[in-house]
C-alpha cells in the first residue's frame, strides 16, 4: 500500500522548486516596484493589467522553466538601455552602447540579424544532421528573441522620451506588431522544440520569421516606418495592451503550425528522410499550436469586439479586419472539427494548415494593403 504512493505523480504545487520561488519573488518585487514608481499614472484598468501581467508572468515561468531566465535577462537588457538614456533621447545617437546595441532600433536590427543567422544555422544543422548546429540555432534564436523583446521594452520607454503624451505600448502600428509577431513565433517554437526534443522544426519555423524580418527591414529602410508616432484617439485605450498581444499569439501559432505542416508534407513525401522528426510528432505539435492559437485568437477577437463597442459604437461592424478575423476563426474551427471529430490526420490537414497561413497572412497584412476600413491605422 505504501508503495502505491511512492511514485505518484506529484501535484503541480509540489513540483515547484526553490528557483520557481525566487523567480516568483522577483516578479512580485518588480510588479511592486512598478506600482510604487508609476502607480499614480495608471487608471484602474491599467492596474488590473499590471497585476494580471505579474500573475501571468509567474504562471508562465512556472509552466515553462526557460522563461524564468529569459524574462529577467530581457528586463535587465532593457533596464541597461533605460539607464543609459538618462532621460535624454539624443543620447541614443551619442552613447556607444545605445547607438550600437541597446537603443530600440539597434536591438531590433540585432534581432533581425540573429534571426537570419539562426535560420541558416538551423538548416545547416538539419541538412547535415548535426545536433550541435541545431543547438546553436536554438541559442541564436534565444539571443534574437532577447534582443527583440528588450528592444520592444526600450521602444516603450523611448516613446515617453519623445513626449509624455506620445508614450504608449509599442503594439500600435504594423511595424511594431511585426516585431511582436517574430518574437512570439520564435518563443513558441523554442517552447515546442524543447518540449518535444525536435530542434529541426526550427529550420521551418525560422523561415516564416525570416520572411517577417525581411518585411521589417524593407519597412524600416524604405518607408521609415520605425518612427514612433503618437496615438490617434481611437487607439488611446488600455484595450490595446491586451487585444493586440492576444491576437499575435494566434497569428504566431497559426504560422508555426503551417510551417510544421510543410515539414510534415516533406516527411510524408519522403523528402529529407531521416533529417526531420517523425510525421506523427510534427502532426502533434501542429495540432497543439493550432489549439493554443485558436484559443488566443478567440479571446483576441472577443477583446477586439469589446474594444470596438467602446470605440466605434458597436461590438461588430463587419469591418474588413473583423470579417477576415472571422474567416480565420471559421477556417481553424473547421480544421479542429475535422481533426477532433472526424479523426482526420496526415496530408489533408497539413495542406489545410498551409492554406490556413495564406488566410491568416491576408487577415494580418493583406487587409491593410488591399482593403480599407476602420483598422486603417495599420496601413502600409
Amino acid at each position: 500500500m505504501e508503495l502505491a504512493h511512492s511514485d505518484l505523480p506529484r501535484s503541480w504545487t509540489r513540483q515547484l522548486t526553490l528557483a520557481d520561488g525566487l523567480y516568483a519573488l522577483f516578479i512580485v518585487l518588480a510588479t511592486a516596484l512598478v506600482e510604487w514608481r508609476l502607480g499614480t499614472f495608471m487608471d484602474g484598468y491599467e492596474h488590473a493589467i499590471l497585476f494580471g501581467a505579474g500573475a501571468g508572468l509567474i504562471a508562465l515561468g512556472w509552466f515553462w522553466k526557460a522563461w524564468r531566465i529569459f524574462f529577467p535577462v530581457v528586463g535587465g537588457v532593457a533596464l541597461l538601455a533605460v539607464n543609459a538614456y538618462h532621460g535624454d533621447l539624443t543620447r541614443g545617437q551619442q552613447t556607444f552602447w545605445l547607438k550600437y546595441l541597446l537603443s530600440s532600433q539597434s536591438s531590433i536590427m540585432w534581432m533581425c540579424t540573429l534571426f537570419f543567422l539562426a535560420t541558416g544555422v538551423y538548416w545547416a544543422g538539419t541538412l547535415g544532421r548535426s545536433e550541435l548546429l541545431c543547438r546553436m540555432g536554438s541559442w541564436l534564436t534565444w539571443a534574437a528573441a532577447t534582443m527583440g523583446a528588450a528592444g520592444m521594452f526600450t521602444r516603450w520607454y523611448e516613446s515617453y522620451l519623445i513626449g509624455s503624451d506620445v508614450g504608449h505600448v509599442p503594439v500600435s502600428n504594423l511595424y511594431e506588431v511585426f516585431v511582436l509577431f517574430c518574437l512570439i513565433t520564435a518563443l513558441m517554437h523554442l517552447y515546442y522544440e524543447a518540449r518535444f526534443q525536435a530542434r529541426q522544426m526550427g529550420a521551418f519555423v525560422l523561415l516564416v520569421i525570416s520572411a517577417a524580418v525581411g518585411f521589417i527591414l524593407w519597412y524600416t529602410f524604405d518607408r521609415q516606418a520605425h518612427e514612433i508616432q503618437p496615438l490617434i484617439p481611437a487607439l488611446q485605450s488600455w484595450w490595446m495592451k491586451i487585444h493586440v498581444p492576444a491576437n499575435f499569439i494566434g497569428y504566431g501559432a497559426f504560422s508555426l503550425a503551417a510551417m510544421l505542416g510543410v515539414a510534415q508534407l516533406l516527411v510524408l513525401g519522403g523528402r529529407l528522410q531521416g533529417r526531420l522528426p517523425s510525421a506523427e510528432l510534427l502532426d502533434e505539435v501542429m495540432y497543439k499550436a493550432i489549439a493554443v492559437g485558436f484559443l488566443f485568437f478567440t479571446i483576441a477577437t472577443i477583446l477586439g469586439a469589446m474594444w470596438a463597442a467602446d470605440a466605434w459604437g458597436g461590438y461588430w461592424s463587419w469591418d474588413p479586419k473583423e470579417t477576415w478575423a472571422l474567416i480565420v476563426w471559421l477556417n481553424y474551427a473547421a480544421w479542429l472539427h475535422m481533426r477532433l471529430v472526424k479523426g482526420l490526420r496526415g496530408k489533408p490537414l497539413a495542406w489545410w494548415a498551409v492554406v490556413g497561413l495564406m488566410v491568416t497572412s491576408f487577415a494580418f497584412v493583406g487587409v491593410n494593403m488591399f482593403l480599407t476600413g476602420l483598422h486603417s491605422y495599420g496601413g502600409l
Binding site: A4, Q93, E227, Y315
Partner: protein, 672 residues
C-alpha cells in the same frame, strides 16, 4: 401507413443532414466565402456611387443580390440562421448521449473490450483493491466498484469529464452569440420594411416634415444611427441609413452640444475629440451633463452615445471682397456661413457662393520632404532613430468655396487667412482650380509692410489704369536719360515703348507679352526683345507704384531690394489674377468658429447576450482542449488483473502515465 413511414424517414434524414458535421462544416465554409464579398466591395455607400462604379446593368443585379449590405441581406441572414439551426440540432442530437457519458463510469465494460483498448495490460495474480482505490483517489480519479455476479470485480475510474461539458459550452455559445447578433442586427426593422409598416424616406426634407411611416418610436428595441449637432444646438432624433433612403429614430431625450474641442499633439496630429453635452430626458426633464470622447462613450437610458466624427457646424465668415474688374474701388465687406451657400452679385452678374468647411489649423511639414541623402550611412542612421526631424508649421485658418455662375460653371477657391512666409517674403496665398479633380494652382499676392494686400491692390489698380501711363512713361524716360541708358533724342521714342509695354502687360499679363512676341516678332529676335520688354516693365513698375502712392497720398515705398522684390512679385500677382476666373477676390478677414460633433447613438440589447456567449465560448474551448478526459479500468477476475486505459485524445505522455500506473498496481499483486 407506408406514406407516413416515408415522411418520418424523410424527416429523420433531414434531421440527420442538418445536425451532421458535414453540413456544419459546409456552412462554415459558405459563411467564410460569403463574408469575403463584403470585404472587397465597400459596404453601405451611396447608391449612385455603386451605379457609377459597376454600370447600370451590374448595379441592378448586385442590388437584387444585396451586395451593398451583404451582412444584412436576406441570404446572409439565412446562412446564419441555418448555422444556428445546425448547431442547435447537433446539440439536440449529441447532447443526451454526452450527458449520459459524463455521468457514466462505463462499469459494464467487458473483459474483451478492455483487452482491445489501446493501453491495456494483463497481470497474473490479483492486485490489492484497497491500494488501487487509494492510488486512483490520489491521482484525482473518481471511481465506481462493480462486483459482478461471476465473482469478478471491476473498478471503473474516470477523470476530466469536464472535457465533454466544453462541447456544450462552445456550441451553445455559438447559438447564444447568433441570437444576440440577430437581436442587434436590423432583422426586426427588415421585417417591418418588408411588410410595408416602415418606408424609408428618400427625399431631402426638414426633419419635422418627415412622414410618420419613416419614423421609428423611442421604444424601438435596437438601432444604430448618427446625429450631427453644432455647438449650441441640440438633437432629439437620429438618422438611420436604410438602403436608398433613411429613417428617423426618435430619442427619449434631447441631446445638446455645449462645446466641441479638438486637442493636437506637437506634430499636428489630433490627440482628442471631446463633446461637452447635456442630455435632457423628454419625460422627466432631468438633465445629465457629460463629456463624450473617443473610447469613452456616455450611456443614457440604455442608449450609448459615441464620439464618431466632427465637422464644421456653420461658422460665420467675414471677407473683404476686392472687385477685380473695378480695381479702383475699395473692397466691400461681405459675410457668409461655412457649409452654406448664398447669392453673390458682382458687376451686374449673378453668382452663387458655396462655402465648404472652415479649417482653423493647417499644419504642414515645411522640412525637407524626404531625406535627399541616400547614402548607406545616412540610411543606417535613419534606421537607428525613432524620431525624425520635422519642421512643422501651422499656416493658419483657411476656407474653401465654389463660385458658380448662372450657367452652373464653377471655380473652386482655397483662401488662407494669415500671411505665409515663403522664400523670405510674406504672401497672401489663394488656391484656384477649375475642376475638382485637378490640384489647386496657387496665386501669391505680396504683402506690404503692414502685412496687408492694400498696397498690392493699389499697384494693380494703377497698372490697369491707362490714364497714368503718360506720366509713368515720362518718369521712366527721364530716369533712363539720367542714367545715360538712352540719348536725349531717343527719349520720346522710349516713353512710347514704356507706354506700349504697360498697355500690353495690363491687358494680358506675362502671357499677353509672350503671345505678342510669338505672333509679331521674328523668332531670331524674340529673346532679345523679350529681355528688353521685361527690363522696361521692371523699371516702369517702380514709377507706377510711385505715381499710385502719390495719388493716394501715402508715403512712397522704400527704395531697397526688399521692396523692389515686392514690386516684381506684384507683377507676377497681377498676371496671375488675370487668370483667376473670378470677378472678385474674397480675402478671408475674420471668422467665428462654430464646430459640430458627429455622434453615434446605439441601443443594442443583444450585447450582453453576445458577451455571455463569448465567455461560454472561451470556457468551452479551454475545457475541450486543455482538460483531458481519461478512463481507467481494473478488472480483477479469475486470478488475473486486467488494467486498461482510454483517453479522448492520443498524446505521447499517455503511455508513460499508463506504465507508471501498471507498475504501481503490479507491486500490490498477490497470489502469483
Amino acid at each position: 401507413m407506408k406514406n407516413q413511414r416515408r415522411t418520418t424517414s424523410f424527416k429523420r434524414a433531414l434531421f440527420e443532414l442538418l445536425s451532421s458535421m458535414r453540413f456544419a462544416i459546409g456552412l462554415l465554409t459558405v459563411l467564410a466565402i460569403a463574408s469575403i464579398i463584403g470585404t472587397w466591395i465597400k459596404q453601405n455607400q451611396a447608391y449612385p456611387d455603386y451605379a457609377f462604379e459597376f454600370g447600370q446593368f451590374w448595379f441592378q443585379i448586385f442590388e437584387t443580390l444585396g451586395i451593398y449590405d451583404v451582412y444584412h441581406s436576406g441570404w446572409f441572414l439565412t446562412i446564419l440562421a441555418f448555422l444556428m439551426l445546425s448547431t442547435t440540432l447537433c446539440i439536440v442530437r449529441n447532447g443526451p448521449g454526452f450527458l449520459k457519458d459524463i455521468r457514466s463510469f462505463r462499469d459494464k465494460a467487458s473483459a474483451n473490450s478492455l483487452a482491445a483498448m489501446h493501453h491495456t495490460e494483463l497481470l497474473d495474480g490479483i492486485a490489492d483493491r484497497q491500494a488501487i482505490e487509494t492510488r486512483l483517489a490520489a491521482e484525482g480519479f473518481r471511481f465506481k466498484v462493480n462486483e459482478r455476479e461471476d465473482g469478478s470485480l471491476l473498478i471503473a475510474a474516470k477523470k476530466g469529464s469536464w472535457n465533454r461539458l466544453g462541447y456544450f459550452f462552445a456550441h451553445i455559445a455559438l447559438v447564444v452569440i447568433c441570437i444576440g447578433g440577430l437581436l442587434d442586427g436590423n432583422l426586426p426593422l427588415k421585417i417591418a420594411e418588408m411588410t410595408g409598416r416602415v418606408v424609408p424616406e428618400t427625399r431631402s426634407l426638414p426633419q419635422s416634415q418627415i412622414p410618420e411611416q419613416s419614423r421609428l418610436s423611442a421604444g424601438n428595441l435596437s438601432f444604430r444611427g448618427n446625429a450631427e449637432i453644432a455647438e449650441g444646438h441640440s438633437a432629439d432624433v437620429v438618422f438611420l441609413n436604410a438602403g436608398q433612403g433613411y429613417l428617423v429614430q426618435e430619442l427619449p431625450f434631447i441631446i445638446s452640444l455645449k462645446k466641441f474641442s479638438v486637442d493636437y499633439y506637437g506634430n499636428g496630429m489630433p490627440k482628442s475629440f471631446i463633446s461637452d453635452v447635456v442630455v435632457t430626458d423628454k419625460a422627466t426633464g432631468k438633465e445629465t451633463a457629460g463629456k463624450i470622447a473617443v473610447n469613452h462613450p456616455m450611456i443614457v437610458d440604455g442608449i450609448a452615445i459615441y464620439q464618431a466624427s466632427f465637422g464644421d457646424g456653420g461658422s460665420r465668415l467675414r471677407f473683404k471682397a476686392w472687385n477685380l474688374e473695378r480695381p479702383e474701388q475699395a473692397p466691400a465687406e461681405i459675410e457668409g456661413i461655412s457649409m452654406n451657400s448664398q447669392p453673390l452679385k458682382a458687376n451686374g452678374r449673378d453668382y452663387t457662393l458655396e462655402f465648404s468647411a472652415l479649417k482653423v489649423f493647417n499644419v504642414e511639414d515645411m522640412g525637407k520632404a524626404k531625406s535627399t541623402d541616400t547614402s548607406f550611412n545616412q540610411r543606417l542612421k535613419d534606421a537607428r532613430e525613432v524620431r525624425h526631424e520635422k519642421q512643422l508649421k501651422n499656416v493658419g485658418p483657411s476656407v474653401s468655396f465654389k463660385l458658380r455662375d448662372t450657367q452652373g460653371q464653377a471655380h473652386e477657391y482655397l483662401q488662407y487667412m494669415s500671411p505665409i512666409r515663403q522664400d523670405d517674403a510674406n504672401y497672401l496665398i489663394s488656391g484656384m482650380r477649375a475642376r475638382v479633380d485637378q490640384p489647386f494652382q496657387y496665386v501669391r499676392l505680396p504683402l506690404d509692410d503692414d502685412f496687408s494686400i492694400t498696397t498690392f491692390m493699389r499697384l494693380r489698380a494703377a497698372l490697369a489704369n491707362p490714364a497714368i501711363y503718360d506720366v509713368v512713361a515720362a518718369k521712366s524716360a527721364e530716369k533712363a536719360l539720367q542714367g545715360n541708358a538712352i540719348s536725349p533724342e531717343m527719349k520720346q521714342q522710349f516713353a512710347g515703348t514704356v507706354k506700349w509695354v504697360l498697355t500690353l502687360f495690363a491687358q494680358g499679363g506675362f502671357n499677353g507679352l509672350e503671345k505678342f512676341l510669338t505672333e509679331k516678332v521674328p523668332a531670331d529676335k524674340r529673346q532679345g526683345v523679350a529681355q528688353t520688354y521685361i527690363k522696361i516693365l521692371q523699371g516702369a513698375v517702380i514709377d507706377v507704384m510711385e505715381v499710385a502712392n502719390a495719388r493716394a497720398g501715402v508715403p512712397a515705398l522704400k527704395n531697397d531690394a526688399e521692396h523692389y522684390r515686392f514690386l516684381l512679385d506684384g507683377l507676377v500677382g497681377y498676371s496671375a489674377l488675370r487668370e483667376y476666373g473670378s470677378p472678385v477676390f474674397l480675402q478671408l478677414s475674420g471668422f467665428e468658429q462654430l464646430q459640430a460633433t458627429g455622434l453615434q447613438l446605439t441601443r443594442s440589447p443583444g450585447k450582453n447576450l453576445v458577451y455571455l456567449g463569448s465567455l461560454m465560448m472561451v470556457i468551452g474551448i479551454i475545457l475541450m482542449f486543455y482538460v483531458r478526459e481519461m478512463r481507467l479500468w481494473v478488472l480483477l477476475s479469475g486470478g488475473t488483473t486486467r488494467i486498461a486505459m482510454s483517453a479522448n485524445r492520443h498524446s505521447r505522455d499517455l503511455a508513460p502515465l499508463f506504465s507508471r500506473f501498471v507498475a504501481a498496481v503490479k507491486t500490490t499483486v498477490r497470489g502469483k
